[in-house]
């Protein structure tokens, strides 16, 4: 393998890892606090992408630069409204019920959202690449790449990682979330409103998934099934890292992103296999994940 291809693979892996991180850290955060595996997480990703494309195509004629805030607005609309409604009306009634019922509620939401997505946005691929075109290309050791993918996406991912860390470890709201994660009963006893914490956490997680989708929308064509693929991939990252591990999710996303990118150039047929193979191997050796600590701290 010559060095150009290696650099190309690294850049591919980096931009891909940034997106996967955003989605899987949301999943991980929700699981850490609510103890629910959100099967509809991939749908939130897809909705973020479609919403971003819709708004972008709407505002692009006014000024193409408006497509950047459009991405953020789309993520917030989906995360806050759809996420908030899901938590309040569907998840809240089943807290404390059997694990399988909580899982299946989100599976039902996935089925409904997947279907609605086809009804709202159709099955034809949608393209909205405006933001990628606006930013210049960069050259690195003879390889030209879009700065949207190799600079903006990793920066957003890094910002999210630092922001989340700061929020959870250095703010009161973050401390409250951690308290509920550690011991819900004790936290409620000292006057923490666990119900609000669940809602806020779910909204943050949902917004991160939608943001991942919104940021992915300019780089790819939007097709039905994009959410279905993303959800298992983000599961793979979150589980490999250890559910509830934020920094771990970042490292794992990078690892899986790079591994996948190199495999694409070496043996393209095995591309889809890589994340799951890594997941199987890691879970067999360390079921709590690479960075998971045995139930000491969850986020």
């Amino acid at each position: 393998m010559d060095s150009t291809i290696a650099i190309l693979a690294i850049l591919d892996g980096l931009s891909y890892a940034a997106l996967v991180f955003l989605v899987s850290v949301g999943l991980s955060l929700i699981f850490g606090v609510l103890r629910v595996v959100n099967v509809a997480h991939g749908s939130l990703y897809a909705y973020g992408a479609y919403m971003a494309a819709t708004i972008s195509l709407l505002v692009a004629p006014i000024s193409p630069w408006l497509t950047f805030p459009a991405l953020l607005i789309a993520a917030l609309i989906i995360g806050v409204f759809v996420g908030g409604l899901l938590e309040t009306f569907l998840l809240r009634p089943v807290y404390g019920r059997e694990e399988v019922l909580q899982l299946l509620i989100t599976f039902a939401v996935f089925m409904i959202m997947d279907n609605l997505q086809r009804l709202i946005w159709g099955v034809q691929p949608i393209f909205a690449a405006e933001p990628v075109r606006l930013l210049p290309n960069v050259s690195l050791l003879g390889v030209t790449y879009t700065s949207y993918q190799v600079i903006l996406l990793p920066l957003v991912a890094l910002g999210t990682l630092i922001g989340l860390r700061y929020f959870l470890r250095h703010t009161l709201s973050g401390a409250v979330i951690l308290a509920v994660t550690e011991d819900r009963e004790a936290a409620t006893a000292i006057g923490i409103n666990a119900r609000n914490v669940f809602l806020i956490t779910f909204i943050i997680g949902a917004t991160l998934a939608a943001l991942g989708g919104a940021l992915a929308s300019p780089t790819t064509s939007l097709v039905p099934g994009m959410g279905t693929d993303m959800i298992v991939l983000s599961f793979a990252v979150a589980a490999t890292a250890g559910l509830g591990q934020i920094e771990g999710a970042a490292v794992t996303a990078l690892m899986i992103g790079l591994a996948r990118a190199f495999v694409i150039y070496i043996q393209p047929e095995l591309e889809v296999l890589v994340p799951y193979l890594i997941m199987v191997i890691v879970l067999l050796v360390r079921p709590m994940g690479l960075f998971g600590v045995n139930k000491v701290r969850k986020i």
Binding site: V39, V94, V100, I105, F107, A108, A239, V272, L273, M279
Partner: protein, 317 residues
């Protein structure tokens, strides 16, 4: 306690009667009823694991293994016999189930579910990407097999397949019900209620769960073979995670307390899908999703639970 309640006797009689009468009156429903019974067989396996409180979000792996055992036989060795298929497919699934089972029974709850998911996604990626062997996403077409060496015209074959599936479904559900009522089945339930106590009694929880897991893999393989023969195709989607979700969905829909739930759930699922696909082709998934939410919110013990509740209040009157 292998004795059946009156409710169950009535249900079984209705199920047998419906499986025979409906296709006789509506020939276009023959394959649908076959699919219901075949998927019910798979869901029996999910119900076994749910007794132990474990949710496999990767059971489509065994369904897919059964399906592709049939498909590969047809592709590489020529058209086989139905009786051969219904032996080979479960055997392959059982062998893989034993191998995978040894690893997964060490884990519980979310870890159990995720590891199963991971294994099934590995199989799915292989089926999808090893194009030369599997035809990728297009799947492998499966020719109509002979039955006991005899070739039949399509209509006759449809009915014979239905009756064979019905017979297998009956045997499977009686066997599973016997298993769940046996000491081994009760130990399975003890894993859910108090695993530590089970270990203190000198029972290996892992061994108990492994037996249940292998049986459920066997049932998954059998159901996969029957569905493939009925639909005459095997695609990688058979092993995809949404298929696994569908099986768990059907189990909850029917009710997980006993074997009858599997078939009640499968009947409801497939009939809603069949009718919705005919009338509202674009919204069948939406409708099923709403049905699932309603069942979870208002009838968590499933359709069989509803019937039982109905029968109990009937009796009080």
């Amino acid at each position: 306690m292998a004795r059946l309640s009156n409710l169950h006797r009535v249900l079984i009689a209705i199920a047998i009667a419906a499986s025979i009468i409906v296709p006789a009156l509506l020939p276009s429903w023959t394959t649908l009823v076959t699919l219901i019974l075949a998927k019910g067989i798979v869901v029996l396996g999910i119900i076994i694991l749910l007794q132990a409180g474990q949710v496999s979000f990767g059971h489509a792996m065994f369904f897919g293994l059964g399906a592709y055992s049939v498909a590969f036989w047809g592709k590489y060795l020529g058209t086989g016999d139905l009786l051969l298929y219904i032996v080979i497919a479960p055997v392959v699934a059982t062998l893989v189930g034993a191998l995978v089972g040894v690893f997964v029974v060490r884990y519980r709850e979310i870890f159990f579910g995720m590891l199963n998911l991971a294994f099934s996604m590995v199989l799915w990626s292989l089926l999808e990407k090893l194009y030369h062997f599997t035809n990728g996403a297009d799947g492998i077409r499966v020719a109509r097999p002979t039955i006991a060496g005899m070739a039949f015209p399509p209509e006759t074959f449809q009915y014979l397949l239905l009756y064979i599936t019905l017979a297998l479904a009956l045997v499977a559900s009686f066997a599973v019900q016997r298993y769940l009522d046996s000491p081994l089945g009760h130990m399975l339930k003890a894993i859910k209620t108090n695993e530590t106590r089970l270990e203190y009694l000198g029972v290996s929880a892992r061994k108990v769960l492994l037996i249940g897991y292998i049986i459920s893999a066997f049932l998954g393989g059998l159901g996969g073979a029957l569905v493939t023969v009925a639909q005459q195709i095997a695609t990688p989607e058979f092993a995809f995670w949404t298929k696994s979700g569908e099986f768990v969905f059907i189990a909850i829909l029917g009710g997980t307390a006993n074997a009858a739930g599997a078939f009640a759930g499968a009947a409801m699922f497939e009939i809603v899908r069949f009718l919705a696909a005919a009338k509202l082709a674009n919204a069948w998934q939406l409708i099923l999703g709403v049905v699932l939410i309603v069942i979870i919110m208002f009838a968590p013990s499933g359709l069989i639970g509803l019937l039982k509740r109905g029968a109990a209040s009937e009796g009080k009157r």
